[in-house]
Amino acid sequence: MTCRRRFCGAVYALLILGYIACTWSPRAHAAGDEVDFARDIGPLLEQHCIRCHQPQNRKGDLSLATADDVTELGFVVPGLPDQSYLLDVVGPGADGGRPQMPKEGTPLTDAARQKLRSWIAAGATWPSDSVLRERSKADARWWSLQPLAAGPLPDPAGIPEAWRGQAIDRFVYARLAENGLTPNPPADRATLIRRVSLDLTGLPPSPADVESFLADDSPTAYEALVDRLLASPHYGEQWGRHWLDVVRFGESNGYERNVLINNAWPFRDYVIRSFNEDKPFDQLVLEHLAGDVLGAEDAQVAVGTTFLVCGPYDNVGNQDAVQAAVIRATTIDEVIRATGEAFLGITIGCARCHDHKFDPILQKDYYGWYSTFAGVHHGDRIVASPKQQADHAARVTPLREAQERLGRERNELDAQIAQRAEAKAEEYTAVWTRPPVDRYGTEETFAASEARYVRLTVQGTDTNPHLNSGFRIDEFEVWSAESPPRNVALASLGARAEGASRRAGDFTDAYGPQLTIDGRFGAEWLAAGPQLTITLAEPAKIARVYFSSDRPRALPPRHDKTTFVGDYRLEVSLDGTTWTEMASSRDRKPPSDLHRRQRLLSAEMTETEGQRLAELDQQLAQVNAELAAIAPLPVWWVGQYSGGEGPFHVFLGGDPQRKGDVAQPTGLQAVTRLAALPEKISAEAPEHERRLALARWIVAPQNPLTARVLANRLWHYHFGTGIVDTPSDFGYMGGRPTHPELLDWLAAQVHEHDWRLKPLHKMLLMSQSYRQASTFRQDAALKDADARLLWRYPPRRMSAEQIRDSMLSVAGQLDTRMGGPGFRLYQYLEDNVATYVPLDEHGPETFRRAVYHQNARASRVDVLSDFDCPDPAFAAPRRAATTTPLQALTLMNHPFVLHMAEALAARVAREAGESGAQPVGRAFQLTLAREPDATERSAAESLVQQHGLTALCRALLNCNEFIYLK
C-alpha cells in the first residue's frame, strides 16, 4: 500500500500538471545551484522509484539501489541530460499526459525533474557507498520490539484503598488521574454477574445463579463466582471461540470450490479442551506449528497442526505451470500471515513482494518463513498412535484376507466360465451383427408403429456394463414414418421427457431430461436412473430413433464427459402400460471388451455356477459389511508434511518465476538481537525441525512480542478493546498502547504464570477496573468518549454467538453437549462447486452452542452473519459490532427467533403461570437478569393480556438490553 497520507491528485489536476509540463522549457543550469546526491537525488529516487526498482523487485530489470544498472543500461549519460533516458521517462507523456514513470503514484514535480537534470548535467555523481533502499516507517526501535520493561508500580496520589491493592488498578488509576479522570463506583451485583457470566462463558446467568449471588454477602462471593465460571466447561467454549477467530478457523476451503471440510472439527474441540485444561500457551504454540512432531504418539497433540491448514486455499487444479506456482506461493503466504498475526501481532505478509513499508520486516525474513513452511500441504491424514494403528490392523487384517480369498475364488470361477465361453465365442458373437453404440449418434430403425410413449431402458453404460445410471444424452430424436419424417419428440411440438437426473439444488433443471428433446446439443441429460421416457404430444406412426451424447463431436470418442448408453432396450406404447420392444443392443457389437466378456459370461454360465457366484457375492457382502462396521482410524484435517526441500529463494516482486537471493529459515531480523533461531537450523534441516525451531523462537522468553500480544488479547476480550486496539498488528499501522507499562507488566505475568491463562483472567476479573459500573458520565465522556482509559466499564454489544446462545439458553432449549462434528444452519449443495443456502427452519439438532456450527467460508447464515460473525476468509482479531436493518428483520421475523420466543413463553408459563405479575417478572429475570420497573411492568402486563406471553418474549429477545453487556 502506498503511503497512507499520500495525496494522489485528482485527474484533472494531473492533466493541468501535464499541460504545464508541456509548456515548460528547460532553462540553463544556474551557477551555484549545487545538487547534492545524498540530499537531493537519493531521497527523490527513494520516494518515487525504489519501490519497484529495488534489488528484490527489479521491475524492468532495473535496480536503482546503486549506480550500476543506471549507467550500464544508459539511463543516465553523465553530463548529457538530453541523452539520458531517465529524464524522458519521468517527463510528460507523448500527448502531454501522464509521464511513463512512475507507473503508479505521484509523478515527479517540475522542480524534482530540474534537480535530476542538474545532477546529470553536473556529472551524475553517485557515491559508491550510497545504497538506496525503501525504508520502513518504523525500525528496530519500534515500541513493540523492545524487551519487556519492568518499571515500578505507580502509586498515584489519592488512589482509593480498594484500587491500591491490585497492580492493574494502580496502572489504570494512574492513567485516569493523569487525565483528570476518576473511575466509576463498583457495578451492582446483578449487572456484575451478568457481565462476568457472558464474558467468561458466553451465556447469561440463570435466575437461580443471580438470586444466590445476590443473597451471598460474604466478601469472597465474587471471587467464588469467578472461580466457578473459570472452571465451567463453557469457559473453553467461549474463549476457544475467540481463539478460533484469531486463527481464521473455517471448515470449507474457500476459493472457487469452497467445499466443506468435515474433519477439521477435532481442532475446534482441541482448542476448547486446551482452554478448559488451561494448557500453557507456549505449549499451544508449539503444538500449532509442530504438533505432528511433538505428538507422534498422541492424536490430541498432533491435531494442533490443523492451525496451519485451516485457512482458505485454492484447490481447483491448474494445468498452467506459472499459475500453479503462484497458487502454491499464495497457499504458503496464507500460513505465514496467519502465524505472524496470531502469535506475534506482525503483518509479515506485507513483506511478500518487498521489504515491509512500515515495519522493520525484511523480504528475507518473509522468505525465511517461506522456507520453514514449504513442506506444509493442505489435507488430512490418519491421526493415531502406533498402538491404535496396531489394534486396528489386528481387527481388519483377517477380514481383508477373507475378502481377498473370496475375490480370488470368484475370479477363478469367472475365468473358467470365460474360458469355455471363449471356445464357443464364434457361436455367441455371431448374433452381434450391428455396429456398437456410438456417442456421436446411435440409430434404431424399425417397422412403422403407432406410439404415444417411447421408452429407453439402460442396462449398462458404454464404459461399465454393471452401471445403469450416470450416462448422458444430449438429444433423443423420435422420427415419424411420414414423408418427409419429423422429429416428433421435440418439446416445441408438445412432447415431454421424464427420467431421473442428477440434481443441482439451486437450479433444479440443470441436468434434466428436458435437455434430450430441446432440439439443441451441448447440454446433456445426466441420468441418475436407468430410464428415459418420452411422451409424444399425440400418437404418431414412428419408424426411427436417433440418440447421442456428443452429437457435435466436440470431444474424443471415449472422453469421460460424454459417457453414453451401453446396453439398452427400446420400447413403445400407446397407453403407457403395455409396452412393445422395438429394438435393443443385444444384436449390436459390444462397446468394449468388458461388455463382451460380460455378455459371454452370462450366456455360458450354468445354473450351479450361477448359484455359486451368488453365494460368493453374498459372503463378500458380509465381509464388506463387517469391515465397514469397524470404526476407521481417525482421519483428521491436520495437514500433510513432506518435501519442502531447498534451496529457497526470495521471489522478486513476489513472483515465483523471478528468483533472488537464497533464503534461510529465520525469525525476524528486528527481534533476533533479543531472541535468535538456533544456529543449526538451515534450509537443509528436515522441514518439521524448521517449523519446530520457529515455534520455539516464537515462545522464547526473550521474544517480547508473543507475551505482549497474548496479554493484550485477554484485555481486548474482557474490556471490549485492547490496550492496543489492533490485537493482531503491533506495528506502525496498528494502534498504540493506551497503557504501555501495564501491558508490559501483564506480559511479564504471562511468563510468571508459565503461560497459563486462568490466573491472568482472574487478575483482570478481580480488578476494580473490571468491576466498576458502566454508568455514563458526561464530564468523563468529554475527555475520553470511548472509555479507553476505563473511567467506566465500557458497555458493548454481544457477539453473534452470545446473542444466539443466550436466546437458546433463556428459552431452555440449549443443548449443552460438547464436541464432535458440527451442525449446519445452511443447506449444503455441492455440484462441482459448493453453494450454501441459509435455512429457514432451525431444528433441535442445531440447538448446540454456536461454536459447534460448521462455519463455511463465503456463506451467510441469518442470526450469526447478521451480527458480525466473520467470514473466516481472514483472521478476525476483533469483531465488528454493526447495526443494520437486516438484524431487525432477522430478529423480528426469522422462524428461529419466533421459535425461541414461543419456547421462552412456554417456560415462563411453566415456571410462573400465564397471567398476572408473576410471568412478566420471570420473563425479565430470564432475559435481562433483573425485575421490571413499574412502567415496564404495566406495559408488559397489558401486552401479555392482549397478545399473550409470546409477544412479550419476542419483544424481550429483540430489545437492546438483551443483546448488550454492561
Binding site: 494522489c8 492533466l15 486496539d725 470511548d786 479507553r788 397478545h947
Partner: protein
C-alpha cells in the same frame, strides 16, 4: 442500507470511532472524545481533510450517482462477443504463432479457432460487432469498450472475486460495498447495494462477490431477485398486524428507557432507527418487486414473458434492476448466468467444450433483456447519471482446447465495457493482439477499471481507504490509474 453517522473527519480512525460510538447530535462530546482517542491511534492529528465517509459526500464533483454492473460469469469470450479479430478468421486452423504448445487452465490447446459468428458494422461508429448480440448492437455508440483488460488469475472463483473486489482472494469488500461505505444511503427505505443473482444460482465463489469484506456489515449487498425476495422480509403469518404493532410499541418503550440510561452510547438509538428502517423496507421492498405494475409494452421490451424460462427470468431481473436504480439504490450487481457446473458451459459462459451451442444458449438470454434495460434507462433519463458496467472475470483463448470445439480460460486479455454517466460512447480503448491472445498496449487492469469507476463517482481511488490487518486497504489494492480515453 446504512445508518448515517455524522463525523468530522475523513480519517478512518475517526470514522471508525464514530461508527462504533456514533455521536449523534452531541458534537462537542464527539470532538473532545476523538481528541483523546487519537493519542492512541497511529497518527495524532489525522483529522485534516474535509471529506467524510458515509455522508453522501464525494472527493470532487461526481458524474455518476449510481452504478449498474452487469456480470456474465464463466468468462464470456471477448473475441466471440465484442472484439472482432479478422486475423483470427484468416488463420483459422493454424497453430497460434509463438505458442504452438500452449498449456492453459484445463491443459493442452489446439490450433486457432475463428469465431463461429460473423461480425458486422454497428451504429454510427460502425464498430464491428458480433451478430450473436443483435439487440445490444443498437447500443454500441454509447458504449466505451476496454478491449485490453487483464486479470491475475485464470480460475473462475478468484477471477470473479477479483473483478468485483480488486483482489483475487476472498474477504475483500466489493465495489458496491466501497460505494456504500463512501456515500451512505440515498434511500431511506431500500438497501444501498443490491445483488441480483441469476435464476440458475450464484456465480462462482457465491456471496464473496458482493461481500462487505472487512467493512462493516451494513455495506454488504442485500440479495434479491424477481424470483427471490429479501430474506426475513415478511412478518410471519401467525402474527397479526395488531400484535406486531403492540410488540413494536413495547419494544420501543424498553429501548428508549435503556438508551436513556446510557446517553453516551448512540449505538442504541442507531439500533432503534434500524428497526424503523426495517419496517419501512417491509413496505417498500414488495412495492419495488411489483413488476406487474409495469405496462405491457415494457414487459415486451424486456422479454419477461419469453418462452425461454431462463431469458424470462433474467428479463424480470433486468426490470427489477431498473426499478431499484430509479428508487435510489446506489449499486446494483446483476448477474446473467451462474457457477461452473458438472457440464462445462451449461450454467454459465464457460464454453470449454462446445462454444457454438453453448453461446447460442446463453446469448439470447442475455441480449434482448440487457439491451432493453439500456434502452429503458436511456428513455427514463437515468443513463445521464447512471454508470453502466459490463464485466466478466477474464477472456478465452483464441485456440480451441485439444479434442474440443471450446475455448480455455485466458486471463491475458479480455473485454469489459462501460456506458452512461461520464462515459464517452463509441470508443474502443486498447486491444488484444491480432488473435485475441494477449492484451497489448495500452493494457488495462481491473484496478484501472475501478480507479475510473471511482473517479466517475467522485472519488480519488487512492484516498478511499479502510484499515484492515496492517494496511489501509483500497478497492484498487496498491495499483490503478485512471483511463482518461473513455471519459466524456
Amino acid at each position: 442500507m446504512s445508518i448515517e453517522l455524522p463525523s468530522s473527519s475523513s480519517d478512518r480512525a475517526a470514522y471508525e470511532i464514530l461508527s462504533r460510538r456514533g455521536f449523534l447530535g452531541n458534537v462537542y462530546t464527539a470532538l473532545a472524545g476523538i481528541g483523546l482517542a487519537h493519542l492512541f491511534s497511529r497518527d495524532a492529528g489525522a483529522a485534516e481533510a474535509a471529506w467524510r465517509a458515509g455522508a453522501a459526500q464525494t472527493h470532487f464533483p461526481a458524474k455518476a450517482q449510481r452504478v449498474l454492473q452487469v456480470f456474465c460469469p464463466g468468462a464470456a469470450s471477448h473475441m466471440d462477443l465484442w472484439e472482432h479479430k479478422p486475423e483470427l478468421e484468416k488463420m483459422d486452423g493454424q497453430p497460434l504463432p509463438g505458442e504452438e504448445n500452449l498449456v492453459s487452465f484445463q491443459g493442452q490447446n489446439g490450433n486457432l479457432m475463428r469465431s463461429p459468428w460473423p461480425f458486422q458494422p454497428a451504429g454510427q461508429s460502425g464498430k464491428m460487432f458480433s451478430t450473436l448480440l443483435p439487440h445490444l448492437a443498437a447500443h454500441v455508440d454509447d458504449m466505451a469498450f476496454l478491449h485490453s483488460m487483464t486479470s491475475k488469475t485464470n480460475t473462475h472463483g478468484p477471477g470473479c472475486v477479483f473483478m468485483n473486489t480488486g483482489h483475487p482472494t476472498e474477504g475483500f469488500p466489493s465495489a458496491g460495498a466501497w460505494l456504500s461505505y463512501a456515500l451512505g444511503s440515498a434511500n431511506e427505505n431500500l438497501p444501498t447495494y443490491v445483488a441480483i443473482p441469476d435464476i440458475r444460482g450464484e456465480p462462482p465463489n457465491g456471496k464473496a462477490n458482493w461481500s462487505n469484506g472487512f467493512l462493516p456489515s451494513r455495506h454488504q449487498a442485500i440479495m434479491m431477485a424477481a424470483h427471490q425476495p429479501i430474506r426475513n422480509l415478511r412478518r410471519p403469518g401467525i402474527i397479526s398486524a395488531d400484535q406486531e404493532q403492540a410488540t413494536r410499541e413495547f419494544l420501543s418503550l424498553l429501548n428508549e428507557r435503556h438508551a436513556a440510561s446510557d446517553p453516551g452510547n448512540t449505538d442504541l438509538p442507531a439500533r432503534m432507527a434500524a428497526y424503523d428502517l426495517a419496517a419501512r423496507m417491509q413496505m417498500s421492498a414488495p412495492e419495488v418487486m411489483a413488476l406487474e405494475t409495469e405496462p405491457a409494452s415494457v414487459h415486451r421490451l424486456y422479454g419477461t414473458d419469453d418462452a425461454n424460462p431462463l431469458k424470462a427470468a433474467y428479463a424480470r431481473n433486468c426490470l427489477l434492476a431498473r426499478r431499484l436504480l430509479e428508487r435510489g439504490v446506489r449499486y446494483v450487481n446483476l448477474y446473467c448466468a451462474s457457477r461452473a457446473s458438472g457440464v462445462d458451459g451449461l450454467l454459465n459462459w464457460d464454453a470449454h467444450k462446445t462454444l457454438k451451442p453453448d453461446y447460442e444458449r446463453h446469448a439470447p438470454v442475455f441480449d434482448q433483456p440487457t439491451a432493453a434495460l439500456l434502452t429503458d434507462l436511456k428513455q427514463q433519463g437515468l443513463l445521464d447519471d447512471t454508470l453502466v458496467l459490463w464485466t466478466t472475470e477474464f477472456g478465452r483463448m483464441p485456440t480451441h482446447q485439444v479434442g474440443t470445439t471450446g475455448r480455455d480460460h485466458n486471463p491475458d486479455g479480455f473485454t469489459c465495457w462501460m456506458m452512461g454517466a461520464g462515459i464517452r460512447g463509441g470508443v474502443c480503448h486498447g486491444a488484444t493482439d491480432p488473435f485475441g491472445r494477449r492484451a497489448v498496449d495500452p493494457v488495462t487492469t481491473i484496478w484501472d477499471f475501478y480507479a475510473t469507476v471511482l473517479h466517475l463517482l467522485g472519488f480519488d481511488h487512492t484516498r478511499l481507504t479502510w484499515y484492515h490487518n496492517g494496511l489501509d486497504r483500497r478497492l484498487t489494492d496498491v495499483h490503478g490509474a485512471l483511463i482518461p480515453a473513455i471519459l466524456a
